[in-house]
Symmetry: C2
Subunit: 137 residues, 2 copies
């Protein structure tokens, strides 16, 4: 595992970026808001599609299907089909997916902790932009 | 700060999601691959636009401008304009932006550490899909 110290790690990350590695690609996936919410939901244990859909309000059936498909392709989620009537399909984190819980939960915690400050910063920024716009008129 | 234990935190996150809070919105921003790379670059210190653009290979001028604008709006990046000729514009992390380094670096480290496993998982998945497609023909 790479050091978390910014002083040591950026050269390695920059090198990796230059080599056209899938770091950005991987980050894009694991940082995607729906992926984060699906992984956090599955951190509680195996769940069926319908349960995930209820838990993650605002996600469309199509987006949940696509998010699960990508997470399965990445080896983060395991999809299991039980030959029952009606067909039962369950989703769970793989062992690799389990290791993603901690960094994602830390990011989600950061987002929650700073939510109010971010909303306030956006309001300040938008007010300043409006004032600047008014000055130009 | 919320607990990282999955058993305790999901109800709070689920409640927050139900209330239409900007958690998903914030996650979408801070998890965005370009935002992650800009914050990691700025963790080394204040930088000019041109230096950021060189460091983050593959980012277009327009995407870097937009990413910096959004990070500034969120209160994560501070933009300072020096009245010189030519105009000098510098970008730095705000104190709140500094607190984002640790969770983002942890996520980037995870992505690097599991890069090979993810690439291998994708290849397995794609092979299985091709086989399944072949069976159906």
């Amino acid at each position: 595992m790479m050091s978390l110290e910014a002083q040591q790690s950026p050269p390695d990350r920059a090198t990796a970026a230059r080599e056209g590695c899938p770091l950005r690609d991987v980050l894009d996936r694991v940082g995607d808001k729906w992926s984060v919410l699906v992984v956090i939901c599955l951190s509680e244990g195996t769940q069926r599609f319908s349960a995930l859909r209820r838990r993650i309000e605002g996600i469309s059936q199509r987006m949940l299907t696509e998010t699960l498909r990508q997470l399965e392709r990445d080896g983060i989620v395991q999809r299991t089909v039980y030959a029952e009537v009606p067909l039962r399909v369950e989703y769970a984190l793989t062992p690799m997916g389990q290791t993603l819980i901690e960094p994602l939960a830390a990011l989600a915690d950061w987002a929650e902790e700073h939510r109010a400050a971010i909303v306030a910063a956006r309001e300040r920024y938008d007010r300043a932009q409006r004032r600047a716009g008014g000055d130009q008129q």
